[in-house]
Amino acid sequence: MEQPVSYTLDSTLETVDHAEEKATRIATELGFGEDEVLQISMAVREGAVNAVLHGNQYAPDKKVILAFERTPEDLVITIRDQGKGIDLSGIPNPLAPENLLKTSGRGIFLMRSFMDVVEIRPSQTGTEVKLIKHVHGSSVGNKEGSQ
């Protein structure tokens, strides 16, 4: 991936799988290790789930924009939906004892667990989630000679 790439995806369950597959392929191509590839793909999957379900709410006229960019230091992944914007203050801590047995609400927590930086910017025209994984070691990115 020498240049940033961007995909415009429908608000469907298939998009979630496609986003995960693209993340797996790109992270692998960039030379991330097996565990990191899994972490990146899972974080992207969770971001895509939130965009499709909670952001766009499966609306056929709303799209999910998924973008990958390799900077000298990082893999930067952006997931943008066209929903009404998430209320971050309304998301409970999934590790709190009273929330452990809830059946949902772990997506953002998992993204934060798997990525080095997670930035969430809600607005009334959609939510943008930026997932950043630092490039560790000399092998990552060497295929592009970009280090």
């Binding site: 590790l95 047995l101 059946t103 998992l110 667990s113």
Partner: protein, 114 residues
């Protein structure tokens, strides 16, 4: 690879052998339907054998929690068996590992029911 489930009986305990992915959509629904079907037929001692589950997302975690609480609320008991490292690690970071009754030996899991 989508999720596949099969059930078998061992000494009055239902073992559900799961393989594939427990993720949003088909995988989660399949697990939910299977557990509900078992409970509706009076099978309240359930072991989910996750030895062949290679991927699980937050929806899948939610389904495991739902299966656990639904079974418990109906007077039953549900245990997890043979966690792969990926699933084990996920349950650790979500602090669910100690909530579930996790076993790594089927015979011990079966004997462990009250």
């Amino acid at each position: 690879m989508s999720m596949k489930l099969s059930t078998r009986q061992v000494d009055g305990v239902t073992i559900v052998d799961c393989s594939g992915r427990i993720t949003l959509g088909e995988g989660s629904v399949t697990l939910r339907d299977t557990v509900r079907d078992l409970l509706s037929k009076g099978n309240k001692k359930i072991v989910l054998n996750l030895g062949e589950v290679n991927y699980i997302d937050s929806s899948g975690i939610g389904e495991l929690v739902s299966a656990f609480t639904t079974t418990k609320n109906q007077g039953g008991e549900l245990k997890l068996l043979n966690l792969t490292k990926k699933v084990h690690d996920l349950l650790q970071i979500t602090k669910l590992y100690t909530v579930f009754d996790v076993k790594d030996d089927e015979a011990a899991a079966v004997k462990g029911f009250k």
